[in-house]
Every structure is written in structure tokens, then in C-alpha cells.
């Protein structure tokens, strides 16, 4: 019973953190350009980033 009292809230808190992070990324527009994000890693940047 004691372990449940610890594990349940823990699971819920960690789950909510994940959910919160997802909502944050959704609001920040990280899902606006899925194709672009997939391709961007292939761009060879020459010199320092602007």
C-alpha cells in the first residue's frame, strides 16, 4: 500500500510533465512544419550560425 501511495502520484506527475511538454511544443509551433524539421538536419551550415 505504501509503495502505491508513492508510485501512483509519481506516475501521474511524470505523465503530466510529458503532457505539459507536449502542449508547450504545440503552442510554440513545433508542429507547423514537419517536413521542414525532418529536412533541416541535412542542411550543411557553413561558418557560424547567424
Amino acid at each position: 500500500m505504501n509503495s502505491i501511495a508513492l508510485l501512483l502520484p509519481l506516475a501521474l506527475i511524470m505523465g503530466s510533465i510529458g503532457l505539459g511538454a507536449f502542449f508547450w511544443s504545440l503552442r510554440r509551433g513545433q508542429y507547423e512544419d514537419m517536413d521542414g524539421a525532418a529536412n533541416r538536419i541535412l542542411i550543411d551550415e557553413e561558418g557560424p550560425l547567424p
Binding site: G18, L26, E32, D33, D35, N39, L42, E45, P50
Partner: protein, 711 residues
Amino acid sequence: MNAHLQTGRQSQPSEDLLETILVVPGMHCAGCMGKVEGALRAIEGVASARVNLTARQVRVSHAGSVTTPRIVAALSGAGFASQPREDDDAPPRSAARALFAPLAVAAFAAMNVMQMSVGVWNGADGATREMFHLLSALIAVPAIVYSGMPFFSSAWSAVRNWRTNMDVPITIGVTLATALSLFETFSGGHTAWFDGVLMLLFFLLAGRTLDAMMRDRARAGVDALMRQAAPGALVVGRSGTIEWLAARDLVPGMVMRIAAGERLAADGTISAGASRFDRSLLTGESAAIPATQGDEVLAGTLNLDAPVDVKVSRAGKGTALAEIARVMEAAGQSRSAYVRIADRASKLYAPAVHALALVSGIAWLVMGAGWYQSLVIAISVLIITCPCAIGLAVPVAQVVASGALMKQGVMVKDATALERMAQVTRLLIDKTGTLTLGRPVPDPRALDALSPKSAAIALSLASNSSHPLSRALAEALAQRGVTAVTLEDITEIAGHGMSAHHAGRKVALRRPDASQSMATALDITGEPVRLITFADALRPDCAAAIARLKTMGIEASILSGDNAAAVATISRDTGLTAQCAASPADKQDAIARLQAAGERVLMAGDGLNDGPALAAAHASIAPGSASDVGRSASDMVFLGESLLALPRAVAASRRTMAVVRQNFVLAIGYNLLAVPLAMAGYLTPLMAAAAMSSSSVIVVANSLRLARAAR
């Protein structure tokens, strides 16, 4: 001048930075993104540039000193055509994005409730079970209300109009199961169904999100194509100044200067100059029409020969072009009455399921069970028959099939397109631009006759002109591996041709002295004049495509606006029957006649004149090279030149619908197995969860077989 040119949407994020959004249809890979962003950042005064590849747009944040033409010039220097985005073509809001949040909430809640349900199934008892149920309720109820909203609102709007759709049984099942579970929770009962309800919502939302993502992607591709046509014209001011105005800023009375090879942005009369015009986009007529001072010319026609000044008589909504768009809108209304297969299925399924639940409830009551027990059994029947897998049956199959088609260059624009395409029995196909390539192609025999030296000179001359024939010649020669030579003092005389000097000899690519057909003459001093004729060629694989359609039971015939002679040639080459000189209204009538006779017509067309026919037909397809109107009116757009896209699209659609029907049988069959258990009162939440997830997995797996449907 800048005030007119900066039509891109601009806002001022800070005092001195402006933001301009440009549409760059040519971007398609990481290299393109890098080049576009690099070219823009190299401009003095540009703070940042960020590409959105999905929307084929770039957002530039820059100082006021950087003008839009400067940005466009930088991009064209990097090899990309671009134009400022107009306010009214902001991409429509993504349908999938609105579903991400409900999907995430349903997934989170389903997982957390499931871990407690597993505890209960494993024998948690007394206070522990009650606490688990209470915690589940605390998580599940808000999550169900939030994630279920897309279904609740859709069901409500259907019920309000006395209709039913798939969302009505879903809503009833979800609501009753939640209510029963709440009652169980607060009365200290044994069973709660929160996990099943949340899992149901999660699966359904997953199917719906996939569906929306597929449509967003197809629409983004089509939108990018649509923005390629530059709507606007150079306008000559009173004092002789020339400025570029967007089509919507043109007003009657203005004088447009139309270069050779340019399309008219408004209707008008020629005030200076004479040229020939290609009206094939508007009427399907392939022969160029000469027009001189005082003649009327229409928006959408292509100026072939010489620059002319055109006084605008009607612009925007008043043009002949806009009139066709209005006819098209009216023609499309019959199609919007089409009922999706999922909704047709639910029309049968929902009443059957609800009757079954009612009958089992009443039967138990009659046999002497209590009110509570009868109600529980009726609700458990509803839960087990909740159309979880049925909600996935259609969208997953369509997503997989559309993905397969997109890989083959066919974009599915409309969600019901696959369903309608699968039913077609008859094909009507436009000639110019659909059956043929829609552009002049030089006669290969004439090109074979050229010596390598003459071919190189012809390529060099042609590549310096923007005349449609020159462009076609340059493209054909370049494809044959001809390389250009250097020429001196190149001059272009409008309406006559190109001339230059090469190695001391005068060379010219000019209008032939006497020729009936479309042709150009290559005139090299000291050599005989070579005549190169042009014709609109049939698309490759034309015969194979028509033969394949025939084996599928689809008879094809030509429906063209072109003159009888031109249609007869093509008709002979393809062996198809043809109707020629058909006006847009004639085409619409031809379709209406066939559909009244019980045929389901597939219309393939590209021009403005096909717009009403494309909208009126049971299903329609347009080539990627089609006019804006053609592309927006059709259900599918195929890229590339091969006409094999047509049989491929029909075959893939038929296979999709076969899989959808299998999915229905699998999903309903699976639920039917569990229904007797529910009616006998033996159904447990564990069984419901197992039945729901396994039937969903089976349906998804069956749909994935469509990944190779578009071969």
C-alpha cells in the same frame, strides 16, 4: 511604388523590422531550404529568414530598406521563383493540428487509468479498489469531456439536422459508459469502464488525426502548385511609367503591357500592337487567334507573338474567367450531396445496435432482473458494439492508399475522392493539355535533320527568347544533349524572331515565310533554311492507359472544345470517339446526360473550360500542369506526364474500397462475437478492452496492405 509591390502580408514585430512572407513553390528538399535561407540572409538588412517546407513558404524578417522586389530578385538569383503571399491565400488552418491536443490528452489519460484498471483486474479489493476507481474518475472525466469534444460536436450538429453519422453512436456509447462508471464508482461497485472509454477515444482520434494529416499534406501540395501562376500585369501609367500590379488591383481603364509569352490577367481590348493569342486554356481551341488594335482579348489567354498594350475592360470578378468559376460552383453542388460510406454504414449500424441494447435490457427486465442489472447489461452491449474499429476502418485505409498514390505522383485532394473514384464506369477526357501535353513540341524528324552545328546554333538562339516556341525548341534540344555555342550581338525583333552572328555568319531563328502550321525557320547564311514544325503531342503511355482502363470496364471518349480537324487527328491516333467544339456548358450537359443514364463519369481535364465539367462529374482528375481552376475543381491531381496515373488512381481507389469493406466485416464481426457475452451479462471491462484493441489492430494491419496499392 513599394506601396504597391509589397503585397506580401506584413506586420511590424518591432519598430524597424518588417516581416514578409513569400511563396516559393520550387522548394522540396534540404538543399533548397539551405539555398533559400542562405540567399536571403546574404541581403544587407535581412534579420532572419525561415523556410516552412510544408507550406512552401519563407518568412523573412527585414529592415524597411529591403524591398520585396529585392527579396524576389535574390531568390531568383538562387534559382527559385517566388512571389509575395497575398492575404487571401494564407493557407487554411491545418485540420490535423486541432486534433493533436485531444489525442495527447486521451493517450495520457488512457495509460494512467489503464495501470489502475490492471490493478483492479488483478484483484485489488475494498478500499484500494474504491480509491483506484475514484482516481480513475478524476483523471478520466475531464479527459473524456476534452478529448471527446470533436465527436460530441459533430454528433450534435448531425442530430440537430435530423441526420445521423458515425459520431452519434460513439457519443451515446461514451456518455452512457461514463455515466455508468461514475455511478459504480460512487456506489462502491465492482466495475468501471473508464479505461475502455478512453481507449476508444484514443483509437478513434488516432484514426481521425491520420485522416486529417493526409488531407493537409495533399492540400499543401496543391496549394503550392496553385500559387505558381503570377496573377498580375505591368501597367503603363499616364506619364509613361511602368509598374507591376497584382491582378486584384487592376481596374477598368488601365493599360496593361503584355509581353510575348505572358498570360493576360484581365479582359480588355488591344490599344496598341497586334499579336496572336492562344485561348486553349479558356476554350480548348488549339489554333492561335490573331488579334489587332480594337479586338477584345480575355483573361487567361496567352500572348504568343509580340508585345501588345491592352486596355482593361473587365477585371477581377467581372472577367469571363470569373464567370466560369461561378458556373463551376453551381455545378459542384450535386457532388456535395454525396454521402460517405462510413456515414451510410452508420445509418444501418447505429439503429441496429441501439435496438439490440434496448432489447437485451427489456429482456432481462422481463425475465425478472432488477432495473440496475438490466441497465448495466444494456450499456455493456452498447460499449462492446461501440464502433471503435469501424471508426478506423475508413480513415486508415484511405490514409495508406493516399500515401501510396502520392508516392506515385497522384495527390488526393478530397476525402471522399477515393470512394467516388472507385465507382466510376465511364471516362470523359479533354484533349488539349490532358490527353496531349498542352504545349508545342518540335517535330523530332525536323530536329533529326539538323546538323550538330545547326542544332547548337538553334539552341543558343532559342534559349535567348521567352517565346513559347523558342522555349519548347530549347527544351527539346537540351534534352537531346545539344550544347549551346556563343553568339554575338543577339537581337530579338518582336513578332519576327531572333537574329545574331556566329563565327562571322548571320544566323536567325524567325517566323517562316509561309507555313500553315505552327513552325519556326532556322536561317543560317550560306545554308538552306530549315523549317521546324511544332505540334501538340499526345502524352506518353496514352494508349497503354486507355487499354488498361478498358480492361477495368471503363470506356473512354474525348470531350474537347477544340475544332473538329484537330480533334479528328487525336481521335484517330487514340481510337477514341470524340465530341468536339464543346463549350463549358456543352461539357456539363454531356456529363449530366451520361449520369442520368446511370453512368458514373470520371472527368479528366485541365483547362478553365473544363472547370464546370470537373465539378459536375462523379469524380475528376487533373494534370499538375492544369490551370488553377482545373486543379481546384478536381478531386485528384497527377504530376508528371504519364497518363497511366488515371488507371492507377482508379485501381488504387477500387482496392481501397475493397479493403474498407473487409475492414467493416472484420470490425463488426469481431464485435458480434462479444455481443452474446454482453447480452448474457458476462462482459467484463477486461474483455471489452481486449476486444476493442485487438479489433483495431486487425483493421489497421489489414489497411496497411494498401501500401502497395498504387502500383
